[in-house]
Point group: C2
Chain length 161, copies 2
């Protein structure tokens, strides 16, 4: 099992790095199962209602799209990072619905990476998300702020190993 020491710390990360996420094709059953638990609105539960709604057909809850995105982020990146937890996010926008049978994928960019002044053992990393469907249409964007451990809190970056 990976220990915290083996994970990527502040010193191992760099602003501007792009991470290609995996992909997930969403099924009708997944949409309905998630909606039943978290977002039981008629147009996420019933295909006939969905067709008559603004969405034009069965689409995932926007929160399911966010959850799937999180899972891809953990798989491809956050699971390898010495993460100390999330702080929150901003500007989450659902641009287009993710319809039944659509494939969600996307890229994440390390938008900023900054040591905490008051807590030198921590850094704040901001990740920008660009989530798209199989037609390369933008589905969701957001910025997530996450705490990352600093490996050598006693050193300032650039002072050497």
């Amino acid at each position: 099992m990976m220990t915290q020491k083996d994970r990527l710390h502040f010193e191992d990360l760099e602003e501007g790095t792009k991470i290609q996420l995996g992909s997930h094709t969403i099924t009708k059953d997944e949409i309905i199962e998630f909606a039943k638990e978290f977002d039981p609105l008629p147009f996420h539960l019933d295909e006939e209602v969905a067709k008559k709604s603004l969405l034009g057909g069965l689409a995932s809850s926007g929160w399911q799209t966010a959850g799937l995105t999180l899972r891809m982020l953990v798989n491809e990146f956050l699971g390898k990072i010495a993460s100390m937890g999330g702080l929150g996010f901003e500007n989450l926008k659902w641009k287009k619905p993710l319809m039944k049978g659509d494939t969600l994928t996307g890229t994440v960019t390390i938008a900023s990476l900054r040591r905490s002044q008051s807590h030198p053992e921590k850094a704040v990393m901001v990740l920008d998300f660009d989530m798209r469907n199989q037609k390369n249409q933008q589905i969701m964007t957001m910025s997530l702020a996450n705490l990352v451990a600093v490996r050598h809190p006693e050193q300032t970056k650039g002072e050497g190993a």
Copy 2:
């Protein structure tokens, strides 16, 4: 079954209204089950690892807190509204972790409610969330923007029935 016509439309809603959400007490099993699916980081999966983490014990994924909040919102409010879907949210902040055995509750305020100029059949409603634990400590805040149907798009508000 409730039809769209029976639901609360733009004309039935008012800025400043506060909605008391229900409550949910989170168990160890719920935390681990959610984390396995969406946020499989060690400190959400293993109580021993969690105790040594910044969280100080087993706590829900912040995304689970958001999901539970959404479910309460649908139960108490959104399920009764002629919602046309979510647009996104802003300023989501995880203030304190929701620990195993904690009870999540909170209030929602209709922060703004505004007809669309270009689409008179739609209005944008912004909801501000103040989520707390059983000790009245703030756990999460966010602002959600949601589309609501206008019952009489041909009328301007205040022109009569």
